[in-house]
């Protein structure tokens, strides 16, 4: 409820601001994004609904970055103005919100959405209206590249893509843990998990490792003991379990009960407090996940971000969504500065595509030809139910 009120207030404030400007200037701001002395950026986020916590996290990150940039004189002397819209965690609403942002608010770029599905739902609108769309955390490959292999010209992302986490996990297992025989236990009902499993397998086998067992489960299963018994009899030294926390929690718990004590590893789908509740802190020892970022990373950029975030939000520690939202704004700022334009979306998207070695909180970013950032991933280890920074793996 509180949040809704705040949302309304923000929307109201931005509307009044825009109206005031129009009245004062008496001119239409058509022509994309530039309204005299502000840079209008839309934020199409999941502020309510199933994944509201993702969208809210991103919004907090965005606000922090915008505050900082505006305090330092904005981009090219112009202040950033964020127009936030709630897409209610729904793909159809995300499309509507994108239409509203591009047609009514004339934004030059949209940041959003948190999930791949909601971002894909806006891709067409962004391409047609020639508005830059930057997804902070849409990790599915088909956000920037369509199924037929064509590129979404105006769509970019701040996060790495799903299969990359599989590559990172494989490198970590082969190099850091030094294991040779591993098993994969993947969620067969999710493209996310299948993509991770495939890239893990490819990288791990290329590194000379052997996959001794490959099993699947289906989301909503609760009994994994029989398949785990089967995996155990193959004697793997390491098990890769891409999937979401609801099932992974049970898999970890049941596996440990059956005496599987080898290292287990997953990806950002594990990242939820529920995982610790389901599996128990003890069972989670000796498990690892890949993630976008860790607030425990000693890196200077990260620590200064953590401090600034804590100052603005009552000492709370920023999570990956906060960091990605924050980085998205800086990625746009960097592109606008290099494009020497805050209003020409075409120039900005060309500059975004050429982003190189940009130091952000979630890593040093270079954008590849598929509009995917090449950046490092962080490996975290669970110790008694707490995520502890383990290492950073470069691509």
């Amino acid at each position: 409820m509180f949040f809704k009120k705040r949302m309304t207030a923000v929307l109201l404030a931005s509307t009044i601001g825009a109206a005031g400007f129009l009245a004062g200037c008496g001119s239409d701001s058509a022509g994309g994004g530039e309204s005299g002395d502000t840079v209008k950026i839309g934020a199409n986020l999941e502020l309510s609904g199933a994944v509201a916590s993702y969208g809210e996290g991103i919004a907090e990150g965005i606000e922090l970055a915008v505050d900082e940039i505006n305090k330092d004189g904005g981009i090219d002397g112009k202040e950033i103005e964020i127009v936030k819209v709630d897409n209610k965690s729904d793909a159809a609403e995300a499309t509507n919100a994108a239409i509203k942002l591009t047609e009514n608010d004339d934004v030059v770029a949209i940041i959003g959405s948190a999930t791949s599905g909601n971002t894909v739902a806006q891709a067409q609108v962004a391409n047609n209206s020639e508005t830059v769309l930057l997804s902070p955390s849409g990790t599915s490959p088909n956000v920037t590249v369509n199924d037929d292999g064509s590129l979404n010209d105006f769509v970019f992302r701040t996060s790495f893509i799903d299969p990359f986490q599989g590559t990172v996990a494989a490198n970590f297992a082969a190099n850091e843990l030094g294991v040779k025989n591993v098993a994969i236990y993947a969620d067969n009902a999710s493209d996310y998990a299948k993509g991770l499993a495939a890239s893990f397998k490819e990288t791990f086998e290329a590194a000379g490792g052997k996959i001794v067992a490959e099993e699947s489960y289906v989301a909503k299963d609760t009994d994994f003991r029989s398949t785990l018994t089967r995996i155990k009899s193959a004697n793997p030294e390491f098990i890769f379990i891409p999937g979401y926390y609801e099932e992974v929690g049970l898999i970890v718990k049941q596996g440990r009960e059956m005496g599987i004590d080898v290292p287990l590893m997953g990806a950002d789908g594990w990242d939820s407090p529920k995982l610790v509740e389901l599996a128990g802190g003890d069972s989670l020892n000796n498990t690892f996940i890949t993630n976008h970022y860790s607030s425990g990373d000693p890196d200077e950029t990260i620590q200064s971000f953590v401090t600034k975030f804590g100052e603005k939000y009552n000492g709370s520690s920023p999570d990956a969504f906060n960091a990605l939202g924050y980085d998205s704004v800086y990625m746009l700022k960097d592109a606008m500065e290099r494009a020497e334009s805050t209003s020409d979306a075409k120039k900005i998207k060309d500059a975004l595509a050429e982003t190189k070695d940009l130091t952000l909180v979630t890593g040093i970013i270079s954008v590849d030809e598929d509009h995917n950032p090449i950046k490092s991933a962080t490996v975290l280890e669970y110790k008694d139910g707490e995520q502890v920074f383990k290492t950073k793996v470069n691509p």
């Binding site: 067969n188 609760t222 009994d223 003991r225 029989s226």
Partner: protein, 329 residues
């Protein structure tokens, strides 16, 4: 069922099923030879029996209700879910131990079962069976979504109430939880047999199941007897819910759907309306599912359960324990 059997080309189905069975057997046999040691067999059997005893407890409620009023109570899976949540709140909220929580869950579910019967089924006792069946599905959905409306759909993690030690028996890892669950289910089943065969209410249940009108003429209060059947069946489902929570940790408002259907398959497999049939059916189904996923066909596990249902309905609709003249409850 009779109608379906007459319409289907029996011989053709039989030959297809036979060849399927032969291939499957050869395939499984080959796999056992190369992959499974004795130890794995024991382990999988333990896994299967633990799962099966939960199915069996739920199946008992299905079979008792069917035996007495010929109704497949599809809301039974939701009673199971409510049992799991009552147990959860008793343990996590009030800090009770396993057995007090179990008893509270069973009591609440018994009341719930009687309430469902009183509100939804009693009025329909004279109407067609399909009307009661559709009502049962309606009640099932009603409870699920009422629950989601009031507490949301997010899952809960069951607290660890039984200290979880693992024993190594013949190379198989057996947890104290599964031993406890197995032991308690067996006790509950023995108590049930005692109630049905040695008490007055059990005698009344058997009489009503045999011939409701005759029982009424003999002075048996049919309504009370049916209520008691619902209460006993539902309390077993409640116990199964608590076991499920302890053993599998995760509970959520839609958790009753699949175990409910599986238990229904188990009840049909054993012979619906026959109490020992439900126990055996549950255990067999649990072991079959475990073996199927243990052989690497985990994605076929749910399919296996329903293939069993179809085969049983085709070839022996009265179930493993079924006779032509059935003795019910």
């Amino acid at each position: 069922m009779k109608l379906a059997c007459q319409l289907l080309p029996y011989e053709e189905i039989f030959s297809i099923a036979f060849s399927l069975a032969v291939t499957l057997y050869l395939k499984l046999f080959g796999l056992f030879e190369e992959e499974w040691g004795f130890m794995d067999w024991i382990q999988q059997l333990v896994n299967g029996i633990s799962l099966g005893s939960i199915y069996a407890l739920i199946a008992l409620g299905y079979t008792m209700v069917y035996g007495i009023i010929k109704l497949i109570n599809f809301a039974h899976g939701e009673v199971f879910m409510i049992g799991a949540f009552v147990g959860f709140y008793a343990i996590a909220g009030w800090g009770l131990g396993f057995f007090p929580a179990l008893i509270i869950a069973m009591a609440v579910c018994a009341g719930m079962g009687m309430l469902i019967e009183r509100v939804a089924y009693r009025r329909l006792r004279g109407s067609t069976r399909i009307a009661a069946l559709i009502t049962a599905i309606g009640i099932s959905l009603f409870i699920q979504y009422l629950f989601i409306y009031f507490r949301g759909a997010q899952p809960e993690a069951y607290p660890e109430v039984i200290s979880n030690q693992t024993y190594n028996i013949l190379g198989a890892q057996i947890s104290s939880q599964s031993l406890m669950i197995l032991g308690t289910s067996i006790v509950l089943m023995i108590v049930l047999q005692f109630i049905v065969h040695k008490t007055k209410i059990g005698k009344a249940m058997r009489a009503v199941s045999h011939d409701m009108d005759a029982a009424r003429l003999m002075g048996i209060n049919v309504n009370t007897t049916i209520s008691a059947t619902f209460a006993i069946g539902s309390s077993l489902a409640g116990a199964a819910g608590v076991f499920f929570g302890v053993y599998y940790t995760k509970i959520e408002p839609l958790m009753g759907v699949i175990p409910g259907l599986k238990a229904f398959v188990a009840a049909v497999l054993g012979g619906i309306g026959i109490i020992p049939g439900a126990m055996v059916g549950g255990l067999v189904l649990g072991v079959v599912e475990t073996v199927v996923s243990g052989l690497g066909y985990s994605l076929w596990r749910d399919a296996a359960a329903f293939v069993i249902l179809i085969l049983i309905l085709l070839f022996k609709p009265s179930g493993i324990f079924g006779k032509n003249a059935r003795e019910k409850v």
